[in-house]
Amino acid sequence: MVNKSAHIITEDLNLWFGDNHVLKDVNIPVYDRNVTALIGPSGCGKSTLLRCFNRMNDLIPETRITGKVMLYEENIYSSRVDVTNVRTKVGMVFQKPNPFPKSIYKNVSYGLNVRGIARSRIEEIVEKSLHDAWLWEEVKDRLHESAFSLSGGQQQRLCIARALANDPEIILLDEPTSALDPQSTARIEELCLALKDQVTILIVTHNIAQAGRISDYTAFMYLGEMVEFGKTKQMFTVPKDKRTEAYLSGVFG
């Protein structure tokens, strides 16, 4: 089963918010150029785990983390690591579309400006990113209009384009379609499948069917523990753990 190289591996990852033990000895590999889905009932820690991969949990006071998150050979929680560097390698798309109150163009160029990319290259990268997020045709004539003039689904694809502009190795998606209508959801799902040739995708979803449709690997979490990890097809047909089986068949969740 494990014949591909793992892009990110966690080693005995534990996380506390104050006294609340949210992640317990989590070990999970995220394979290169695959879609991995994190599923589980609300409050199981799947979003928290996702936010460990780009150190977004650093922002929450009284967070304590032990264990390692290895991005290839490097533990991103090591003290020598530059966190902004991690975040350009590991992009993130949030639950609710959150474009900046700027133009469509400036939303995409933001990360490039911050990183000091040469002005001459920015235009080209913006266009490519919008192409890759399947948004170019819809916005090419109004790049300088406000991002808020886009529909919810378009805004979310803009957020994906914005993340892609940094040329990340991994993109983290935190329930990216939960605020969208079914059509926009379908489009984002197709986009994920298309993108996995160029970038590793880790997606949190509470929609089991969505995990089944787009992911190669699935991790089932329950009460902060990684209950089961495996190929999606295998897990969805023959789950090893009773809790996985119960969750997948809709007994709880």
Partner: protein, 288 residues
């Protein structure tokens, strides 16, 4: 019975709100009634453009240009001081300070707003002015510079607390989006949070402007009181509110001088009214 209660409550609150509007309209009406007769003695253009204010000479000169310039200079000076201090403290409280520091700092800055203006004025006269004389070797410490400092300190809490509200109401999701794209905290504040709070920050500055331009006691006590067009910031001036406050008690009701002071009040009212209109306009446009 309940119905009666509700009706009477409604009536009382309605009358209360109506009352404030009637009073406001009454004040506006009386200023214009008291001020317009001055234009029998001097044309509006001359009133606004002549720098000589000699209301007790014979014949008197009613030109308020030097008073307007005095007001605008001390107000501009106040903003030069209060914008960086107010905005800086707002950014610190909203974005950088820990929860505990924020809980201490916020009320302290708001307390500054509660100090009576006469106390500010006294501070200016008793401490700042002698201090400036010693430092800069100038003949008087009551001038544009010192009035700007004191007025600026008074305006800091207005700009600080309103800007802080605007910054705090920028959604967390925007900060997260910026950080997730590899921006550091500083870049996020400057490029995302402050621009997103722009409307609120500008409103706070305009409100601070309105406060400074209309403030009377401080400019009366600290600005020096000379009706002249100054050639440098260490010269005394006589801002509009100080002129009204200083002269109104010594003029004959119904005299040209009396009308001229009311005329100054009209100009002052128009300036603050426009500044409030601009603020409302910005807030309204933001809501849509």
């Amino acid at each position: 019975m309940n119905n009666f209660k509700e009706l009477s409550f409604k009536t009382v609150t309605y009358i209360a709100s109506l009352f404030t509007i009637v009073v406001l309209l009454g004040i506006i009406f009386s200023i214009f009634l008291g001020g317009t007769p001055v234009f029998q003695y001097v044309s509006l253009t001359k009133f606004l453009s002549s720098p000589s204010w000699h209301p007790t000479h014979d014949p008197p000169d009613f030109g308020i240009l030097s008073l307007i310039i005095g007001s605008l200079l001390v107000t501009a000076g106040a903003l030069v001081i209060s914008i960086p201090l107010g905005l800086g403290s707002a950014i610190y409280i909203s974005e950088i300070a820990s929860q505990r520091v924020r809980e201490i700092l916020k009320p302290i800055i708001e307390l500054l707003a509660g100090i009576p203006s006469v106390v500010y004025g006294l501070f200016g006269m008793a401490f700042l002015s002698p201090f400036l004389i010693r430092i800069f070797k100038i003949p008087t410490g009551l001038n544009i510079f010192s009035a700007s400092i004191i007025l600026g300190l008074m305006v800091v809490p207005i700009i600080s607390s309103l800007s802080e509200d605007a910054l705090s109401s920028v959604p967390k999701s925007l900060r997260e989006a910026s950080l997730a794209l590899g921006a550091n905290k500083w870049e996020t504040i400057i490029r995302i949070v402050v621009p997103a709070a722009k409307a609120g920050i500008i409103s706070s500055i305009i409100l601070g402007f309105g406060r400074a331009v209309g403030e009377t006691m401080v400019v009366l006590m600290v600005a020096g009181g000379a009706a002249q067009i100054p050639s440098n910031i260490f010269q005394p001036v006589r801002p509009m509110p100080a002129t009204i406050a200083a002269e109104m008690g010594e003029t004959v009701i119904g005299s040209p001088h009396f009308y001229a002071l009311y005329g100054i009040a009209i100009i002052l009212f128009v300036i603050t009214f426009i500044s409030i209109l601009i603020t409302e306009f910005i807030v309204m446009r933001k809501k849509r």
